[in-house]
């Protein structure tokens, strides 16, 4: 049901002239994609410094909350750029992205990373000041930092693999994969 709904939405986006324009442009698509990838250095770079501090691996003599506060703004700027360019990339190739198992995992990981970030922020605020200068922060903070690094690395990895056609709908795949990737027509063809 959800699969059909998503596909209908993607097909509707696909009818937009702008979607086709970006897709068929000589340079526009590549530039959006390059901006998306290069902004990783801002967004993930800042996140990396913050999380390494939460693991006690960098800036041991600067309060952890200070690092988190000061690097927050550039990180958010990077995130917004990635979000906008990421949406445009999806908008340019909506149907294939919707039916990509990698894109689907990526969205799930993004949501998990978002939840983790909110929980992390709450934990930080609840305990602010009590461990700010500890060379190695408390365990719950370190676990949050590891989770953040792993989840975002997962987002990058699945983002990269969208480009591979290993599990595209037109391939011969197990029924479960057709379902997970949302290959509506291929699933229907399997029906007896």
């Amino acid at each position: 049901m959800l699969n059909e709904l998503l596909l209908t939405f993607a097909q509707w986006l696909d009818t937009h002239q702008w979607s086709t324009d970006i897709h068929e442009s000589i340079y526009m698509y590549s530039w959006i994609e390059a901006t998306h990838v290069l902004t990783l250095m801002i967004f993930l770079g800042m996140l990396c410094v913050i999380d390494l501090r939460m693991l006690g691996a960098i800036f041991p003599n600067v309060p952890a909350s200070k690092i988190a506060e000061r690097l927050d703004k550039p990180m958010i700027i990077g995130f917004v750029v990635m979000l906008i360019t990421g949406f445009l990339l999806f908008y340019a190739i909506p149907v294939r992205s919707t039916q990509s198992i990698w894109f689907r995992i990526k969205v799930v990981l993004l949501i998990l990373a978002g939840i983790n970030a909110f929980m992390f922020r709450a934990k930080m605020q609840a305990s602010s000041g009590t461990w700010d200068l500890d060379p190695i922060p408390p365990k719950r903070i370190r676990i949050g930092a590891i989770a953040s690094l792993v989840l975002w690395a997962g987002v990058v990895i699945t983002g990269r693999t969208i480009a591979y056609d290993w599990f595209d709908c037109h391939k011969q795949l197990p029924e479960f994969m057709y379902w997970a990737a949302g290959c509506v027509n291929e699933l229907a063809a399997l029906e007896p």
């Binding site: 590549s30 990838v37 690097l71 990058v156 693999t161």
Partner: protein, 158 residues
Amino acid sequence: MDLYPFFDWLDTSMLADISKAYGGVFAVVQMFHLLGMSMLGGMVLVGDLRLLNVLLKDVPSEQVIENTQKWFTVALIVVMTSGIFMSSAVAMKLYYNQMFWAKMTSLALGVTFVYAIRRPLLKFNHDTIDPWTIKLLAVTSISIWFTVAASGRWIGFS
């Protein structure tokens, strides 16, 4: 200096056997390349934006530079190791690719700049260095590493 023999060797090396035969292995290595790039970018930006007085203004810049340098080296090793593996898959194509050479040139300039100029100079007390020289260092550093990353992405498009 012609590096053709090196690329010719790389193209038929064991590395190339692996990277050409298994698309999955190539993809995994490329992910490390991207993650290393993110870390490298983070360290460069935090260090240079501090030198430009944009970020972490109340932390001594000596401290920011010292802390980011260590992880910069880690990131550089990750990026270069994964990069060599990736290039083995398309060694001959890269040899004739102009963007690849632009990237290698800027990488060589970047490594020279970091380890022979930026790092030794910033070991001195930053108050004794002309503030404009420091800002120039930061702009150069950001420009070089941006070029390395951007021309790298362009290899894939060309």
